[in-house]
């Protein structure tokens, strides 16, 4: 059974289609990342699945229920971490979690949730006195306290420092091992890569790819050959196939290519002719970020001549 089914979901605000015919299914227990630039429609899609917005057309089903008509019992099976909400500042983390735990039929023990989000040491701190990263983890704690079957995380780590992001990731990974279906939006490609087994890429309100990090990486972009010349290298004598790729400012060769053997052969024979070693030569795999940027709409010509 699919925990989530979106069928041609569309949301228009006036003549502006924030989400335009988005269809996908998420099986039970999968961790999906919805990626896209700001304004791609990620949050609008999520808000339709969470029941905040009614779609203009198309249908959504979450745990078999139309989210816009989801009742209290349904809400208790869903966990949410919204993009920007906040909590009453006056009470401690523990008191706040206790109040939210009371809303669910079978909540996780507050102490266990505090451990999961790594806030056990700050449990008695007032919510208003927390750092941004800590507050975000309280959001996550509230999202998971009711043992949700489906968890929506809308940019859970935006604005966090690298360490806080790692901690938030650990919390999400811990959940994924319990069989929770997770839908995560992010505009960090590394976050999606780290956490998700599936990527849905949105741009301008439409799905431009529904893939896996591995597939995106292997098929989405060119490899990079990079070499910094030593000071006296005879750069002028490079073969004509490589000469256009010299970055004179950096005194370096940067070749992005689908096919690495040709340029490498040319480079090695040039080094051989001049009795040079090539310390620091790099041949990098296709970058997930490049693939992502290509997928979300940096145009590429049909003939294949990039400008």
């Amino acid at each position: 059974m699919s925990a989530i089914v979106a069928d041609r979901l569309t949301k228009r605000f006036g003549d502006f289609a924030a989400v335009d015919g988005v269809s996908f299914e998420v099986p039970d227990g999968q961790l999906v990342a919805v990626l896209g630039p700001n304004g791609a429609g990620k949050t609008t899609t999520l808000e339709m699945l969470e029941g905040f917005l009614a779609p203009t057309s198309g249908t959504a089903r979450v745990l078999g229920v139309n989210p816009h008509r989801g009742d209290r019992r349904w809400r208790a099976r869903i966990g949410l971490v919204l993009q920007s909400t906040s909590l009453d500042a006056e009470l401690s983390i523990r008191d706040t979690l206790t109040v939210f735990a009371g809303l669910y039929p079978a909540p996780r023990p507050v102490g266990e949730v505090l451990e999961l989000v790594d806030l056990a040491d700050d449990a008695e701190t007032r919510v208003g006195a927390l750092s941004g990263g800590q507050r975000r983890r309280v959001d996550v704690a509230i999202g998971i306290i009711g043992r949700p079957e489906v968890l929506f995380l809308d940019e859970p780590t935006t604005g966090l420092d690298p360490e806080a992001r790692r901690r938030a990731w650990t919390a999400v990974e811990n959940l994924a091992t319990t069989g929770t279906t997770v839908v995560l939006t992010t505009h960090y490609i590394d976050e999606a890569d780290h956490l998700a087994s599936r990527l849905i890429l949105l741009a301008a309100g439409q799905i431009v790819a529904d893939t896996t990090p591995e597939r995106l990486r292997s098929q989405g972009g060119p490899a990079t050959i990079r070499y910094c010349f030593s000071g006296d290298a005879p750069v002028g004598d490079l073969p004509a196939t490589l000469a256009p790729y010299v970055d004179h400012d950096r005194h370096a060769l940067v070749v992005r290519t689908e096919e690495t053997t040709g340029p490498l052969r040319d480079l090695l024979s040039w080094a051989d002719r001049h009795h040079l070693d090539l310390p620091g030569l790099e041949v990098g795999p296709p970058s997930l970020e490049d693939a992502y940027l290509a997928a979300i709409g940096e145009p590429v010509t049909p003939e294949g001549t990039p400008r």
Binding site: A40, L91, A209, T211, Y245, V255, T257, A294, E298, P299
Partner: protein, 309 residues
């Protein structure tokens, strides 16, 4: 797996339990904030300051200050906090929780009513203790009843007013501008010489009937009706109207300017754009395969991207 394991889930918590918990929670929030001290403290300070200069610390004067403390809490403190909670996204978070909306609201309103009634009662207590104002047991009970009704009327109306308050910055000015004129023409700080028509209007607004009914209760003598029925009817009508307005117009989400997609270059159907190859300016090196070519399960091709097939 997860879903089958939940086949024997315990029952949802009852609405009564949720409401009681919400009242307790909201009361704790109010009590831990400094905002309530103004509703309790200011009328008592005014009562003390005016004693001696004012001729009356009788029932009408005391009722006026008590009504002032009550309405300050039920209108200003409550209204500003409600707008602040909405704009910060607190309300949106609660709306997403498995709690009936009415439970959240009633919890919030009842907690405020309790604090507002306490503010009114504190003023009366100060009058009795400091200036030996007259108070009978039936008068105290009557005043308590009027306080409760008045606090409901003012919180209900404030809830409906928040729908037209766009931002937190606008909350105080709008709440004050709708508050002080009503308080003053209602004679809360002592009767003022005003045209008859203005007094008539005031008698249909929720402040003057509140103060008048409290004064009647405080100055109650045997043989007379404890509370003026007309005042109670006016307060009850405002309560119902306020709640109806709130149900019809209330917003849970922060006010946001209309969100537009960030300006992006239109996607041309013809070749253009920087692509992901800044160093490639020609030559025989192949461009990246487009993702759509390489991606099974691709759905929803964007318009304007026919080349991605």
């Amino acid at each position: 797996m997860n879903i089958t394991a939940r086949a024997v889930t315990p029952r949802m918590p009852s609405a009564g339990r949720l409401l009681a918990a919400q009242i307790g929670y909201q009361a704790r929030l109010l009590a831990s904030g400094r905002a309530i001290t103004i509703g309790v403290g200011l009328p008592v300070i005014l009562l003390i300051a005016s004693h001696g200069t004012h001729t009356q610390t009788g029932a009408a004067g005391l009722a006026g200050y008590a009504a002032f403390g009550l309405t300050l809490t039920a209108w200003n403190t409550y209204g500003v906090r409600l707008v602040a909670a909405r704009e910060a996204g607190v309300l949106k978070r609660w709306r997403a929780a498995p709690l009936p909306r009415w439970c959240y609201f009633l919890g919030r309103i009842i907690a405020t009513v309790v604090v507002a009634v306490a503010a009114g009662a504190a003023t009366v207590a100060a009058g009795v203790l400091l200036y030996h104002s007259h108070l009978t047991a039936s008068g105290a009970l009557g005043a308590l009843g009027v306080f409760v009704l008045g606090a409901f009327a003012w919180t209900a109306c404030a809830t409906s007013l928040t729908a037209v308050i766009p931002t937190l910055e606008a909350a105080s000015p709008i709440l004050m501008l709708t508050y002080f004129p009503v308080i003053i023409i209602s004679g809360i700080f002592g009767s003022i010489s005003e045209p008859h028509w203005l007094s008539t209007i005031a008698s249909y607004l929720p402040a003057q009937p509140l103060a008048h009914a409290v004064a009647a209760a405080l100055g109650h003598t045997a043989g007379h009706a404890l509370l003026p029925a007309r005042d109670l009817v006016v307060l009850a009508v405002w309560t119902v109207a306020g709640l109806a307005g709130a149900v019809a117009t209330f917003r849970w989400e922060p006010h946001r300017p209309a969100q537009r997609r960030p300006a992006r270059a239109p996607r041309p159907a013809s070749p253009s754009g920087p692509g992901a190859q800044p160093a490639s300016t020609g030559g025989d090196i192949e461009p990246p395969a487009t993702l759509a070519d390489a991606t099974p399960g691709l759905k929803g091709h964007p318009k304007g991207h026919p080349e991605r097939r």
